[in-house]
């Protein structure tokens, strides 16, 4: 149970000694945050009440002790290759899947052991552990983590807490709409009175991984690369130094793209298209997005192809200015991925692709002010040369690469702003205003400067009234009136003045005059300035120090439920029973919201006793 067992004596003591000056409170509490540590648990390094908070992401892990304001250690959970620990898909083949699971289990074990032994330097056997879980963390991974924690590390208690709720705690609230924009997915979860409304969860795959691929594609297409000078004896070095070439794909390793993303990219302000930008054109080509098609070097010397042909690819932007034709929303999604065609692709699509992205580049170039930068990169191994090459990244890529996250219209991959609205649509009507006025944005991707203000602008844009009602009036159709354009978010339009992102570092102030009630968006920007990426961890630390870290599963209970495997290990060493941990039998001890909110039938009369036990 999550009921804290500490007597209230301690709490009163804390509140008594920390009346006004928070500095005194902090200095006393950073040394030891629990007073009984000094008296009773002298021998142990940390009080047993201090829990270990692990925020395991598919890429980045944050670990630390509860009661502290920042994680002790942050590290890449994946290897150096940048491949996340788990993805959105699993292998379909049985053998491949078993292999995948074995590899995952081995890596998880490595990471979890490193958490205790390398990062925190503590003994796992006396530590309670809070694992911060994403609501959509696959059960098999959760099960795997619990199994490693219980059996390999012999942790006494493990509890799982949903990351969205903990993030909300970190801003001092228990009600709100939390957008977690991570690496694999962006997920929105409304939470009311600390109850996550899991069934109103909405996700979109537009997140960090997609942004990384987009940056890679853009740099491959529009970046320039200066190879390092060849070895000194080479006679024609002077000529070679000056030559800028297209970016070789080998030079653009995962690490380089990651560095571009985390170091030099930002999210530019929303821009309105000028008139010459937005000549509508009805042609479009849908280019499939190749996630892994970066092997070929593309010649960047584009033929200056017809720009008008693919201008509709950014019709989303134009739509906002003048008018959305009903179909243009769908059409707009086609530019979302500037993808690199395989060189074997048909030449026509190749040209078209280049033309489209060139138009896109011109458009972005007009609307960006960021400076071009030169970035030293290691040259590809085959090219030779001394030193490092130089990668020239145009400023518009830095500023506008994140446009891919805000590019909505696709029904399957709604934009980051639209996914908030989608979730709001599912929330019961009487909660919508509450939720809309308490949006919290967490995760690693919102760490990009400018992300959150832009998100607010995008929400407002998505809710904007479709201005000129019939831009392309039915000319020669019948007199029958055209149906109004599909306006998915019309029910939410009333809420527009109420939208507030709690941790918006730059909340809109004066522009709310148009709204009828501008006093409502007061919560915007009022959250403490924890970074979005650490918000869930800080919440976990807070929950741990408040001793409400969720339902704790004791190890005995796990082992009890796990007795089937235990029996098998008893009977001889080289058994042939194929009971690997990758089997689909999950331990039912782990609580999870997907296991059904209510048991079948009425709860037993002593349900609370069971829950407490």
């Amino acid at each position: 149970m999550s009921v804290p067992s500490t007597p209230s004596k301690r709490l009163t003591l804390d509140t008594a000694t920390t009346p006004t000056t928070s500095r005194v409170a902090a200095t006393s509490s950073t040394v030891h945050s629990s007073p009984h540590y000094q008296t009773t648990r002298r021998h142990s390094l940390y009080g047993t009440e201090d829990r270990i908070v692990i925020d395991p992401g598919s890429r980045i892990w944050k670990v630390g002790f509860s009661g502290e304001g920042r994680p002790r250690d942050v590290f890449f959970g994946d290897g150096q290759d940048g491949v996340p620990l788990w993805g959105l898909t699993r292998a379909t083949n049985q053998l491949d899947r078993e292999e995948e699971d074995r590899a995952l289990q081995a890596m998880l074990q490595e990471r979890l052991r490193a958490v205790f032994h390398d990062s925190l330097l503590t003994d796992p056997k006396s530590r309670r552990v809070i694992v911060i879980e994403h609501p959509l963390l696959p059960l098999y991974i959760k099960d795997m983590m619990a199994r490693i924690l219980f059996t390999n590390l012999q942790v006494p208690f493990v509890s799982f807490a949903p990351s969205h709720l903990l993030s909300l705690l970190a801003v001092g609230r228990i009600t709100g709409l939390v957008l977690d924009c991570g690496h694999l997915e962006s997920a929105v979860l409304p939470i009311f009175a600390s109850r996550p409304l899991f069934h109103h969860l909405k996700t979109t795959p537009l997140a960090g991984a997609r942004l990384t691929e987009h940056i890679r594609s853009l740099v491959l297409l529009f970046g320039k690369y200066t190879p390092p000078p060849p070895a000194l004896p080479a006679p024609r070095s002077a000529a070679a130094i000056q030559r800028q070439t297209s970016v070789p794909a080998e030079a653009l390793t995962n690490a380089v793209v990651e560095e571009i993303k985390t170091r030099v990219c930002l999210v530019g302000k929303a821009f309105e298209l000028s008139a010459e930008d937005s000549r509508p054109s009805q042609q479009q080509h849908v280019t499939p997005y190749h996630a892994s098609s970066n092997d070929d070097v593309i010649d960047v010397d584009h033929p200056s192809s017809d720009a008008a042909q693919s201008e509709s690819e950014f019709s989303r932007v134009s739509m906002d200015v003048d008018s959305p034709a009903p179909g243009s929303r769908v059409a707009s999604s086609s530019y979302s991925m500037v993808s690199i065609e395989d060189s074997q692709g048909t030449s026509s699509s190749h040209l078209g692709e280049h033309g489209g992205s060139q138009v896109l580049a011109d458009l972005y170039k007009r609307h960006s002010t960021a400076s071009d930068i030169k970035m030293p990169v290691a040259p590809p191994a085959s090219s030779g040369g001394l030193g490092r090459g130089v990668l020239m990244i145009p400023g518009w890529i830095r500023e506008r690469a994140a446009e891919v996250l805000f590019d909505g219209g696709d029904v399957d991959e709604v934009s980051v702003a639209e996914v908030i609205l989608e979730s709001l649509l599912k929330v019961p009507v009487d909660l919508r205003k509450t939720m809309a006025s308490a949006i919290l944005v967490v995760g690693g991707t919102p760490m990009m400067p400018g992300f959150i203000p832009r998100l607010h602008a995008e929400i407002a844009r998505a809710l904007a009234i479709p201005s000129s009602p019939q831009p392309q009036p039915s000319k020669n159709r019948k007199a029958r009136p055209r149906p109004p354009p599909y306006d998915r978010y019309a029910p939410l339009r009333q809420l527009l003045p109420h939208f507030a992102i709690l941790n918006n570092p730059d909340p809109p102030k004066a522009e709310k005059v148009s709204g009828p009630s501008q006093k409502k968006s007061t919560a915007a920007g009022k959250a403490p300035a924890f970074t979005p990426a650490c918000m869930a961890w800080v919440g976990g630390s807070l929950a741990g120090s408040l001793k409400t870290g969720g339902v704790e599963i004791p190890r005995e209970k796990w082992e009890e439920a796990d007795v089937r495997e235990e029996v098998e290990t008893e009977d001889g060493a080289v058994t042939t029973v194929p009971s690997s941990p990758t089997s689909q039998v999950y331990n039912k001890v782990l609580p999870d919201w997907t296991r059904g909110p209510l048991p079948i039938g009425a709860p037993a009369a002593n349900a609370h006793v069971q829950a407490q036990a």
Partner: protein, 581 residues
């Protein structure tokens, strides 16, 4: 490919099954070098770094080698509390330097003050970062961490955190009080709650962590005064995110940078839970994280496997039960790679394989070619003071594993494929003489070679190979016991590579060795081998428990070794090179 290697299987990852096929990528986590392994005498099992339970036996700073008492480890957040700092840019150790002396023109004032002049700062001798740039200077050159402590204690994240705690504590206390009350006097108190809300509340609080029970009393009270639906007052943060202004500043900076070096990397920033500047100029020096001395125990029987000496300066161990002291040290060599006389002498025995081709192959790595036969030599070195009998048994790798082999570009029916190579190893037991210190100095190899009779060595010509390799027992010996030298025995084996074979030549071998145990330990031995495939079978003729038995106990220990011989090249040398690149 790397050199041929031998790795030993530890069954901890998947204790119930046979060792995974060695050519699976995931299996690399199950196989370890012998130097990384421990051996639990009680359980009679191999233990690896993945399964031992680790305990911290001491903390120390890796820079000043100060042994930090564990009482202060927590308060200092696992970091050195003395003068040790890391450069935030390059992770080099910072040094404390004084300011420039006031009048340096004379060149004479260098020795006036040995400590230097008061504004001290930290300086990186590698990248020339200095802490004065970020406004950190010190009055004294000692106990810098203490002087910085004030900064850290007033860090906005910890202050805000305390405030959050204060904010939630009354709420948690109230809810816990009400929920505990509801446990005791459930029906009496909550007259408003009907069974349905009770059930829903119960289920919710069970499923939703950190949630109090639905409390109709407080709920209705809150509902009456309409103050807040959350049943808790609004939190007023100490410092709003909108007031920090760092995000807009960061945007402005980023728009104008000229080089990515102006911006701190993700790794330099991600520990900060408080929004801060992204500029590299604003990075603060880092206190050096402590290291720990770890002692490791067997996960089942809790016996210590390795325990370091307490002093940080010492690199010795008080207890060290490594596998190298218990298992014969195996080594492998591929004689066709060695340009020595021994291999050239044996070359004629290999049909179809010309040494010159191998040696002139463009790759210096051990590359084997399909359709040929290669000998290899395994050496076993006995670390124990008793002679041992070893029997090795190459396992035929399961056929299905070739389907998941990564670099397998083979035919379209991979399930039907046989392993692309066949291993021939002697199947009879051979002896390895005991270790003796005298051999460290003595060249007389065959001193006690025949002290105990090699009863089984005469069966060498019955070497039924585990895989159907060509039997050529009559020729010059490549399979069998090649040589015995001191406590090392050399065993020859052969690998026959199929014509179309590709990939790595990796195979599993079960090594079983029998030894006499002189030290009679009193624990019951039969029950500990529950979770491991290394099996110990006690010889039934010798009673284990009887203290009266004079004859030493014969024990058997077996474990799995994966032998990696190298990579098979394609027949077409050029093609293979292209493929590998």
């Amino acid at each position: 490919m790397s050199a041929p290697s031998l790795k030993i299987y530890c069954p901890c990852l998947d204790p119930n099954s046979l060792p995974p096929p060695p050519n699976l990528p995931s299996s690399s986590h199950s196989y370890h070098e012998i130097h990384d392994l421990y051996f639990c005498e009680e359980c009679d099992l191999i233990r690896c770094n993945r399964c031992v339970s680790v305990e911290v036996s001491g903390y120390y700073c890796p820079n000043c080698l100060f042994e930090v008492p564990s009482a202060s480890v927590r308060g200092e957040k696992n970091r050195c509390a003395r003068n040790c700092f890391l450069c935030p840019s390059c992770k080099n150790t910072l040094i404390v330097v004084p300011s420039d002396p006031p009048e340096s023109a004379d060149g004479r004032i260098m020795t006036i003050n040995t400590l230097g002049d008061p504004p001290f700062f930290l300086y990186c001798s590698h990248c020339r970062w200095d802490s004065a740039e970020v406004g950190i200077t010190f009055e004294k050159p000692t106990s810098l961490a203490n002087q910085l402590q004030k900064h850290e204690d007033s860090a906005p994240d910890s202050l805000e955190f305390e405030r959050l705690k204060e904010h939630f504590e009354p709420f948690i206390r109230a809810s816990s009080a009400s929920s505990s009350a509801s446990h005791h006097l459930r029906t009496a108190q909550h007259v408003h709650s009907n069974p349905i809300t009770a059930a829903a509340s119960d289920a919710l609080s069970r499923d939703v962590p950190g949630v109090s029970k639905y409390n109709p009393l407080s709920r209705s009270r809150v509902g009456r005064d309409k103050s807040n639906r959350d049943e808790m007052p609004e939190y007023r943060s100490r410092m709003d995110v909108s007031l920090t202004g760092s995000d807009t500043a960061n945007v402005q900076h980023l728009l104008m940078i000229e080089s990515p070096d102006e911006i701190a990397t993700l790794e330099q920033r991600w520990i900060n839970s408080w929004t801060s500047s992204v500029l590299v100029n604003d990075l603060k020096p880092l206190r050096i994280p402590l290291h720990s001395k770890k002692s490791k125990r067997c996960p089942t029987c809790r016996h210590i496997l390795i325990k370091p000496e307490q002093k940080p300066q010492s690199v010795r161990f008080k207890i060290k039960i490594a596998a190298t002291g218990y298992l014969p040290l195996m080594a492998i060599s591929l004689p066709f790679l060695n340009n020595n006389l021994a291999t050239t002498a044996k070359r004629s025995t290999r049909p179809g394989a010309t040494w010159e081709e191998d040696r002139n192959s463009p790759s210096i790595n051990p590359v084997m070619f399909g359709g040929r036969t290669y000998p290899f030599v395994l050496s076993f070195t006995n670390p124990m003071y008793d002679p041992i009998q070893i029997r090795i048994n190459a396992l035929r790798s399961p056929v299905s594993t070739t389907t998941v082999q990564t670099d397998e570009t083979g035919p379209a029916q991979p399930e039907k494929r046989r392993p692309p190579f066949a291993i021939t190893l002697p199947t009879y037991a051979f002896s390895v003489a005991a270790f003796a210190e005298a051999w460290e100095y003595d060249e007389d190899d065959d001193m006690i070679e025949d002290e105990h009779a090699d009863l089984v060595d005469d069966r060498r010509h019955a070497s039924a190979s585990t895989n159907s390799g060509p039997a050529r027992g009559g020729k010059a010996k490549t399979v069998g016991v090649l040589e015995k030298k001191a406590n090392t025995t050399f065993i020859g084996g052969e690998v026959v590579i199929g014509k179309e074979a590709q990939g790595d030549v990796k195979f599993l071998t079960m090594v079983t060795f029998t030894y006499r145990n002189d030290t009679v330990d009193e624990v019951d031995l039969g029950d500990e081998d529950g979770d491991g495939s290394p099996v110990r079978t006690t010889n039934p003729s010798s009673s284990v428990l009887g203290g009266a038995n004079k004859q030493p106990e014969i024990r058997t220990f077996s474990y799995y070794v994966v032998v990696d011989l190298g990579r098979i090249a394609q027949r077409n040398v050029e093609g293979s090179i292209d493929e590998r690149r």
